[in-house]
């Protein structure tokens, strides 16, 4: 069970959150101008580390803010969590 340290609400159970995948995978600003390669990378080719991972969580049943969380995918250690947008 993950206890995610929401900077707004405190330590909260994972069941309150929705997972949003890899952080920092920005949608191309102008999709029409993005190459097929860039678009495919954005959609399909993500980091999949066995270890520290920066990822997005939405506090669905809490403050309803998006968080950027650093979590170890092997030990489930939660290293940090901050609001994705101030």
């Amino acid at each position: 069970m993950l206890l995610i340290p929401c900077p707004f609400c405190g330590d909260r159970d994972e069941t309150e959150f929705a997972y949003g995948g890899e952080a920092g995978n920005e949608r191309p600003a102008d999709p029409g101008a993005a190459t097929d390669e860039a678009w495919t990378d954005y959609l399909c080719f993500h980091d999949n580390p066995k270890g520290p991972h920066r990822e997005l969580w939405f506090h669905r049943d809490g403050c309803r803010r998006w968080l950027t969380v650093e979590r170890d995918t092997w030990t489930h250690e939660l290293r940090s969590a901050r609001l994705s947008r101030p």
């Binding site: 993950l2 994972e14 995948g21 390669e37 999949n48 489930h76």
Partner: protein, 421 residues
Amino acid sequence: MAAMQRYSIFSLLRGALSGHRDWQPAWRAPEPKSSYDVVIVGGGGHGLAAAYYLARNHGITNVAVLERGWIGGGNTGRNTTIVRSNYLLPENQRFYEHSLKLWEGLSRDLNYNVMFSPRGVINVFHTDAQRDYWIRRHNGMRYAGIDAELLTRADLARLVPALDLSPGIRHPIVGGVIQPRGGVARHDAVAWGYARAADALGVDIIQDCEVTGIDVEAGRVTGLQTSRGPIGAGRVGLAVAGHSSRLAEMAGIRLPIETHLLTATVSEPVKPFMDKVVSVAAAHVYVSQTDKGEVLIGGTLDGYNSWSQRGSPARLEDILSAACEYFPRISRLRQLRHWAGVMDMSMDGSPIIAKLPVEGLAMTGGWCYGGFKATPASGWCLAWTLANDAPHALNAPFSLERFRTGAVLDENGAGPVAWGH
């Protein structure tokens, strides 16, 4: 190499009369040679099947299978043993039906009882929309010559007396579909049977041998670094679903795969009460009773990237509460154990059985949570791809390029969300 000791009623009688003291080990434990024509990484069902079909179908016997742990100790031992070919997309239908046909002859083929039990796989649904979807999917199967039938509530009451069909539950069941030829098989026996049959054809099965690096020279694979020393290889096949990303990374290849957990659980054994596999659409939970009498329950993904092999208690509670809702009589059974397997979740929910962008390197992976039923055809297709340096028509659609060309195989229409399939 001694000839394989064939199993039969006569060998069993001979064994009984001699006090079971002269059984041969099912496969050898050779030291790795300095090089092989083909090395398969991963001694699960898929990798062992690939080695077996390389030797049997293609006459390539200078083959090694490298297994980090022991045979049957990886994801092969963590699945829920279900075998079916009830797919909607033609590419999936052809592939999984080929697999099911291999299952039907597998015990005889391997001279090993894989305990394939075609007891019927049922999906139940709860709404008109789900009914339309399942009818469409099963009509698609019938067009493709695959067995599929629609079940009324009366049929369900007859086939699965343990199922709660009362109208008062949260999501009442309005009907179901069945693939009668689907069923279950003994997961360990599949690995052991392929290992024994491959070994008999000359394949070296090397356990306790972890691959730590893939040697690539001028764009071509030349060998592997392992915990038991370097091993040269003409061609290499990766069959390490759950860890495909890590192995591909050793060759500098990025895959459209994320690793997620799927929880399953088994109860204490009880007398037989259910001889079908039942999957419940409302909760994504599937229940069967094993030959030992345990109630085997599989669930859905934890929903976030993880390699921990430890499922979340919250998800376990979801799975068990759903199972108890639809099978009230299991509610007082004690759970013997639960576990979570690591899944290669691909971006369209379909596997990758393909050559990789390094010469001589191919993979089977991206199995999401449907790899067990694919074991024979996955190995068959990987063997073909390695032997011919080109995919067979059955696995050509399961390429790596499809994610760039857009020819994805998204059975559920979920889009490129790894945990959405």
